[in-house]
Structure formats: C-alpha cells, structure tokens
C-alpha cells in the first residue's frame, strides 16, 4: 500500500463525519471513483455517521411544522437529476451474489471474532469483545403484528441484549418471557422482562443454548415469576437468523 493511498484511507472517516476541507473532500471524491475498497469503506463510515444521532434523547418538532413543509412542497415540483451529491464508483448494487457474499462475510467475521475471544486471556478486553454484537436475530410480531424485537447476541454466544417495541405493558403479576425452542428438548428460557409505558424495552439477556441448536426463538406472556415452558401464545417469533 502506498503512502499516498494510506493518506486517503486516513481521511475516509473524517469525510464521513463532514470534517474535511473542500479541497480534501474533492481529493477523496476523486479517489473513491477508482478505488472500490475505499468506496466500500467510505459507505460503511457514512452509515456509522448516519446513526450517531440515534442515541440522542428524542425531541419532536412542534405539531405545526408539517404544515410549513407541506406548503413548501406544494410550491415546488420534484426536479430529480438536476443536482447530485458525490459521485461514487459505478458498480451495481443488490445483486444476489453480492448479498450472498455479504452474508458469507458476516459469518466469517463472526467466526473470526469468536476465535479471537477464545485465544485471548480473560479480562476487560475479552469482555469488551464478548459484548460486541456478533449475531442479530429479528423477531416478527406473529401474535402481536405491531410488535417487533431484535435479539443481539454477543460474540461469546452467551450474552446479549433484547430490544423490543410494540408490546402492551402488563400488570405486576405478569411478564414477557424469551424462549429458545429446540428440537427434541424442552424450550430453554432466556429470561423475563417488562416493557415501559410506550411498549419498549432494552434488556440484557443470557443465551442458554447455542443459536445453532435452536429451531425457533419466541416471546410469550407468562406469570411474573416465569414459567417452566411457554404457556401463552407466541407473540413474537424468529425461525431464521444470521
């Protein structure tokens, strides 16, 4: 790798943050048109920059803000193509082979991270690695269509977090419970939780079985003390994951 190329790589992150001068931005924009690796990395950094504000405490605009935008929109007509932002390499997106490659990359990345965890001595560094999200499971609202959940399993495979939205708050005698369903074995509980008044929750969980051994992951409503097996309807369910 040349020193000049290293210089471009150094500036990709700053470009994504909008933190370069105009001449530096032009240099990067010219470089990525001929360097697919840098173009991909820049896209990834831009995705990271795009989500930074999501951790801010949300503030809604005043209710009349939409009226101003609607008025402005009616005065304008879309003129798409008249003005474009940066030029990125002209390679096609979203072909099935590329999607398969992304999935394969994620699997390889996950395996390499798990290997990295197993090779290091225990300590804060391993804990940090272990808490890095390794797999993502999307649970769909089967029994409760408006609900959704994301199970983030850490690299170590034994810990993670569960993000939930759209479940109704329950009384103090009730709770929701996470289940790992296995073929030929009793369902393994992943813990109970409640949602807030807005129907959301962010819960640290323990993953009792390997995801590779689970056939389905579900959420049911149970007594607040938990249950030995699911007794309620499957409210959210996942049957495939990365």
């Amino acid at each position: 790798m040349t020193e000049e190329h290293e210089h471009f790589i150094e500036d990709l992150a700053a470009y994504a943050l909008g933190s370069l001068s105009e001449s530096e931005r032009s240099d990067i924009e010219a470089h990525v048109t001929s360097c697919p690796a840098c173009a991909r990395r820049l896209n990834e950094y831009q995705a990271v920059a795009g989500v930074l504000p999501t951790c801010l405490d949300p503030v809604e605009p005043s209710p009349d803000a939409w009226a101003s935008i609607r008025t402005g929109a009616r005065r304008r007509r879309p003129t798409h193509g008249a003005e474009k932002r940066i030029v990125l390499p002209n390679w096609r997106w979203a072909a099935w082979p590329l999607m398969a490659g992304l999935v394969a990359t994620l699997l390889v990345w996950n395996v390499s991270l798990q290997r990295e965890v197993s090779l290091r001595p225990p300590g804060p560094e391993v804990e940090a690695l272990a808490r890095r999200p390794g797999r993502l499971v999307i649970l769909a609202g089967t029994g409760t269509p408006s609900a959704s959940a994301r199970l983030l399993v850490a690299v170590d495979g034994h810990h993670g977090h569960l993000a939930i939205a759209g479940l109704r708050p329950v009384s103090s005698e009730r709770a929701y419970e996470l289940w790992f369903i296995r073929a030929g074995a009793a369902p393994a509980p992943g813990g109970t939780f409640r949602v807030d008044a807005s129907g959301r929750a962010w819960v640290a969980i323990t993953v009792p079985v390997s995801l590779d051994d689970a056939r389905a992951i579900t959420i049911t409503e149970e007594a607040s003390t938990g249950s030995a097996a699911p007794t309620g309807q499957y409210l959210l369910e996942a049957r495939a994951w990365r």
């Binding site: 909008g18 950094y45 989500v51 809604e60 940090a128």
Partner: protein
C-alpha cells in the same frame, strides 16, 4: 425506498409518511447542532424539501433512508451554524421552547436496539476519541480546526478520528448494514 420513488412522482402523501417517520430524528439532530428550536425547525423544513424536490438523491450504498436524511440534516445544520454562528450562540443562552421532549411513539425494536447500541459503542471509545467525533460531527469543525482548537498535531487528530470511526464501524455493523427492504 418505495416512499422515495413515490415522492419522485410528486406524491405528497409519501412525503408526509416520510416526515411522520423521521421528523423526530431529524429535528433532534438539528436541535443538538444548532441549539435553537426555531433554527432546528428551519433545518427540518429544508432537509425534507430538499428530498422532495430532488436536490438530494438517495444512494442505498450509503446506508438506509433515515441515515441518509440525517446526513442531509446535519450538513444543513452545520451550514446554518457557520452562517449564523453569532445568533445561534446568543440563542443558546435562552431556555429551549417550541419543542416537545417526548419519546418517539413510533419506535420500533430496530430503533430501540440502535439507540442503545450506538450509546454503548460510544461509551466504548476513549474520551479523546469521543471528543474527536463530537467536534467533527456535531461541532462541524474540520480536522485542521480541531487540531488548532485542541492544540494538537493534525496527524494525531486524523488518526484519532479514524480509530474512533473504525471501532464504531466494527461494533455497530451488525445493526446498520444496509438491508434490501428499506
């Protein structure tokens, strides 16, 4: 993306759906940067109208639609901050009004996961790495300006920024890699 295609045909209902979904995020970011609800509202309006009239075009390779919107809003907010820096600083001293600090009732599990994931990822950075991100993204400073403000070598600032973003990228990629259904 379907919404954006509909907007290209002049479908105002699609614009309203986009607004209802993401106005809170956009306004929150704008307010964080400019510090004034009226200026934030100006950024909000400008961002959505630029999407509407085609002055901003969406590229799925750069991430999902809300994050593309964040980029537009952030750029507009920084432009506003730089052009009205004096007035914005004066307004920062006044109590915030005209905005409602309430949770987004339309939150999905994705949004819940992302909010907590990003917060944890930022906590995993060192203090100087977080500062580099903060000054660049929310402060709108160039790397040269950050180096001058911190009285540090430019190379140090650039390395720090790159290391911070690389750590965030590795931590957050399972949550943010582009999905086709957007």
């Amino acid at each position: 993306m379907q919404l954006l295609r509909q907007m290209q045909t002049g479908d105002e209902a699609a614009l309203e759906v986009l607004y209802r979904r993401y106005a809170g995020l956009v306004f929150t970011l704008a307010l964080r940067i400019v510090g004034d609800p009226e200026l934030a509202r100006e950024v909000l309006q400008d961002a959505f109208l630029r999407c509407w009239d085609g002055r901003e075009t969406y590229d799925p390779r750069r991430g999902r639609v809300p994050w593309w919107l964040m980029g537009i809003a952030r750029n507009r907010a920084i432009d506003l901050l730089r052009s009205r820096s004096h007035q914005a600083r004066l307004r920062e001293q006044e109590p915030l009004s005209g905005a409602t600090r309430t949770p987004n009732q339309l939150d999905t599990a994705d949004a819940v996961a992302l909010r907590h994931g990003v917060a944890r990822a930022l906590e995993g950075l060192s203090a100087v790495q977080r500062q580099a991100i903060e000054l660049a993204y929310y402060g709108g400073l160039t790397q040269v300006e950050i180096a001058e403000q911190l009285d540090e070598p430019l190379g140090t600032v650039k390395s720090r920024t790159r290391e911070a973003m690389e750590r965030l990228r590795v931590s957050l990629w399972p949550l943010i890699e582009p999905r086709r259904e957007e």
